[in-house]
């Protein structure tokens, strides 16, 4: 037990970000975390609370309100299960400390238990918010007794245990008996596929429940002999007991819940003795590929410019690192698939011909939506791909390279911004431009949209890198954590989303209600975006280079 505690403590400690010594930076960091909580965590929490409240209130009539709680908890468990795979695989088999720890005289179960604790720690933050919010929704709807509060507190802490245990068992079985996953990249590729599946499932569910989500889900639970909850209860048997313990304050259900969790973890630790260490045998890191001859390599070794070399380094790393590729590059080029899915979610069909006819009849309205849409979409897409908002953090332990090479910091900075701008712009307009041409949009509207889109992209790129320079996350173990655990990325997304929504709202109000002409709306947008650009440029030139110079990775 002491070994397990010591290992867990060491692993968790190594995960934590280095604490800033600068008071001003600490204040900024707190501000950033506050914004992330405000714009990301709180909206999700409110959604969970309202959903649980509505479900429980609806199902109270049938005296099966526990199923409402169960439904929410099952969803959160599914969320943990899908996102847990990557964390568990990475922690169990591919963390950088594993090769040092394996030769230590520790049992497989002790190591797995410690790694499991780290995974729980990494995966838990967002989920705690969701569980707490759901339970708050339940308390508001039900006003239950004291025992329910005890059960809820237990649920908040222990809910991820079962789904993560499943991830742990599956990871050990896969690693022991197959050779399908032999490096971190394979895990990340599979995680990306699982995530895509999860999003697709979410979209389909959303379409099914589009008209009236709560009524539809209530109907789904009550009128179909509860097959969904029953089926889910088989996957997560703990939920049946904890939802009853929360709803009715049942002590016996709470004890059974705790017992099942203990049994599940004990079973995983028992299996680890047979599976864990042998799972490493299948790990192969050396992949042979076709190599060019030395003469061929010399032929391609020709002098290029400094800037081109730095850009090449950036792009190669972005394309060759699976996490960066799937999170920063791919979204720029696959968004039309998601747009199509969302379009298909509508209850009415939209065809190209219909759009073309509509454009012929109402060219100004189409022009307005194109202009506003391109601005809002450019703001959001540039933030979403996070090419700028993790540009410094991405360097990680290579950060010192930025500092000892003879390329001025502002040039390195500009190259990173250029990459963000180019990928964002190409990704957006390689689809949007043909679409505009196909539906015969007025040429002037296209030009105006492109200009405003460029201003939006440069603004978010500069803002992103500026925010990332304040407190870059330079200490990370795997590349995914620089994206998932980086508050800078979340902050830039939240800001871009907020600014995008504000622009859309004001623009629409001016155009639709105040009947301001499209030309004037476009000019106003141009002025606003130009001011925003000038502001970030001013801030950047004033502080950014100094920050890189003073930033230390220690």
């Amino acid at each position: 037990m002491t070994t397990y505690l010591a290992l867990s403590k060491a692993f968790i400690k190594s995960l934590q970000m280095s604490k800033s010594t600068d008071r001003r930076t600490r204040i900024i960091l707190k501000f950033i975390i506050g914004l992330v909580v405000l714009f990301v965590f709180i909206p999700v929490a409110i959604f969970c609370a309202m959903m649980t409240y509505s479900l429980v209130t609806n199902l109270q009539f049938f005296h099966i309100q526990d199923l409402g709680v169960a439904m929410m908890l099952h969803t959160i468990c599914l969320f943990t299960l899908f996102f847990g795979f990557n964390v568990i695989f990475s922690e169990f088999y591919f963390s950088s400390d594993i090769e040092y720890v394996r030769p230590w005289p520790v049992s497989a179960w002790q190591l797995v238990a410690a790694k499991f604790s780290v995974s729980y720690y990494v995966d838990n933050m967002m989920q705690v918010f969701m569980v707490v919010a759901s339970l708050v929704g339940f308390f508001v709807a039900m006003k239950p007794g004291a025992m329910s509060y005890v059960a809820s507190a237990v649920a908040v802490v222990t809910l991820p245990i079962l789904p993560l245990t499943y991830c742990g068992i599956i990871a050990m079985v896969v690693m022991r008996f197959t050779k399908s996953i032999n490096n971190k990249e394979s895990v990340q590729r599979i995680s990306a596929l699982v995530l895509a599946g999860f999003i697709l499932m979410f979209v389909i569910m959303f379409r099914v429940f589009a008209k009236n989500a709560v009524d539809a889900i209530s109907f789904f639970i009550t009128e179909t002999s509860s097959p969904f909850v029953e089926y889910m209860n088989r996957i997560f048997p703990t939920i049946h007991f904890i939802s009853r313990a929360i709803t009715y304050g049942s002590v016996s259900d709470l004890l059974i819940y705790i017992l099942i969790n203990i049994i599940a973890v004990a079973f995983m630790l028992f299996l680890s003795e047979f599976l864990y260490f042998r799972g490493f045998e299948n790990l192969v890191t050396n992949v042979k590929n076709k190599q060019r001859s030395f003469e061929e390599l010399m032929k391609i070794s020709v002098q290029g410019t400094q800037n081109r070399a730095y850009m090449k380094k950036e792009i190669l790393i972005l394309f060759r690192t699976p996490s960066f590729f799937t999170n920063c590059i791919l979204p720029n080029f696959i968004w039309p698939i998601f747009a199509l899915i969302i379009l298909k979610m509508q209850t009415y069909d939209v065809s190209i011909t219909a759009l073309r006819i509509y454009n012929m009849n109402e060219p100004k309205i189409v022009g307005f939506f194109l202009i506003m849409g391109s601005v809002v979409f450019s703001l959001i897409m540039t933030a979403l791909n996070s090419l700028a908002s993790n540009a410094i953090s991405r360097e990680g332990k290579h950060f010192q390279f930025m500092k000892y090479i003879p390329i001025p910091y502002d040039t390195q900075w500009d190259i990173k911004i250029l990459i963000s701008c180019v990928f964002s712009f190409v990704g957006i307009w390689m689809y949007l431009l043909p679409f505009c041409i196909i539906i015969h949009t007025n040429f002037i509207y296209i030009i105006v949209s492109i200009l405003l889109s460029i201003l939006s992209i440069t603004f978010v790129s500069y803002m992103g890198i500026y925010i990332d320079s304040i407190q870059p996350k330079l200490i990370w173990d795997d590349e995914l954590s620089v994206l998932r655990e980086n508050t800078n990325v979340a902050l830039v997304m939240a800001l871009a989303l907020g600014i995008g929504i504000a622009i859309a709202f004001v623009g629409y109000s001016f155009y639709a209600f105040l009947k301001v002409r499209l030309l004037l709306v476009s000019l106003s947008l141009f002025v606003v975006l130009a001011i925003l650009n000038l502001f970030v440029l001013w801030r950047t030139s004033k502080n950014a280079v100094r920050r890189i110079a003073e930033q230390e990775e220690t």
């Binding site: 030395f294 010399m298 070794s301 020709v302 790393i317 690192t321 090479i405 003879p406």
Partner: protein, 240 residues
């Protein structure tokens, strides 16, 4: 020539480098030795511009690191303390990127890449991603990359770690050749025998302060009956 004058660097409350001054003249190899945490890597990072000193000056061949950093960095060849750098890149890509950054012309880079690849046995590995390399091969690649632009000032942070005997021998030979050609080399090491045999001068640093700077002869004159290992342990207060 490289020179560091009254440099101090503090992390939180820890003085990693404390009013340190020394000068490495052209034609010299200077060994930088000291116990773990003595401030060797911090000093080297200050010399290369990675860390900004709290006070003091760094001068590389007449270029002040604070005032003319680009000019100063152009003439430094630096090997960092860890060879795990840009492992997703292939060896040849990494070398060419570094050669471009340091503006090495095509014909010269080809010649140098061939020289390093042959000396260090890297020819078959050049077209492979560096994440497939062993620790020693990565270290060799870092050496090749640091020296591909033939910089007059070499700052090498424990360059011999992980190298096989042949590569270590070759690198030591290269250091000597480089110094003899009128350039300077500063390298840190924990292997006292290497410092003793290879270096023209030794800097012993402890808790951020230089406790000795001079030739081996000067050192042995101060402690006539002791070998370098005993002297080092006594000077750094680590006697067993």
């Amino acid at each position: 020539m490289l020179e560091i004058k009254n440099v101090t660097k503090t992390f939180n409350t820890l003085k990693a480098v404390d009013d340190l001054s020394f000068r490495v003249e052209d034609g010299e190899i200077v060994g930088f030795v000291g116990p773990n945490g003595a401030g060797k890597t911090t000093t080297m990072k200050i010399l290369t511009g990675i860390l900004k000193p709290d006070s003091g000056e760094v001068n590389i061949n007449g270029f002040d690191m604070q005032k003319t950093p680009i000019e100063a960095k152009e003439i430094i060849g630096y090997i960092a303390d860890s060879p795990d750098m840009f492992l997703r890149l292939k060896g040849i890509e990494f070398l060419n990127i570094i050669a471009d950054i340091y503006k090495v012309p095509t014909d010269i880079r080809r010649e140098r890449i061939e020289t390093f690849a042959t000396r260090f046995g890297l020819i078959d590995a050049l077209d492979l991603p560096m994440q497939n390399y062993s620790h020693g091969m990565r270290q060799k690649m870092m050496v090749a990359a640091a020296l591909v632009h033939n910089p007059p000032v070499w700052i090498l942070d424990e360059p011999l770690i992980g190298l096989d005997p042949k590569s270590a021998y070759n690198l030591k030979g290269m250091m000597r050749e480089h110094a003899d050609a009128g350039n300077c080399v500063l390298f840190s090491t924990h292997v006292l025998e290497v410092a003793e045999k290879l270096c023209d001068k030794i800097i012993i640093i402890n808790r951020g302060k230089d406790i000795f700077y001079g030739t081996m002869d000067e050192l042995t004159t101060m402690y006539p009956d002791k070998d370098f290992e005993q002297i080092f342990l006594e000077m750094t207060g680590e006697s067993v």
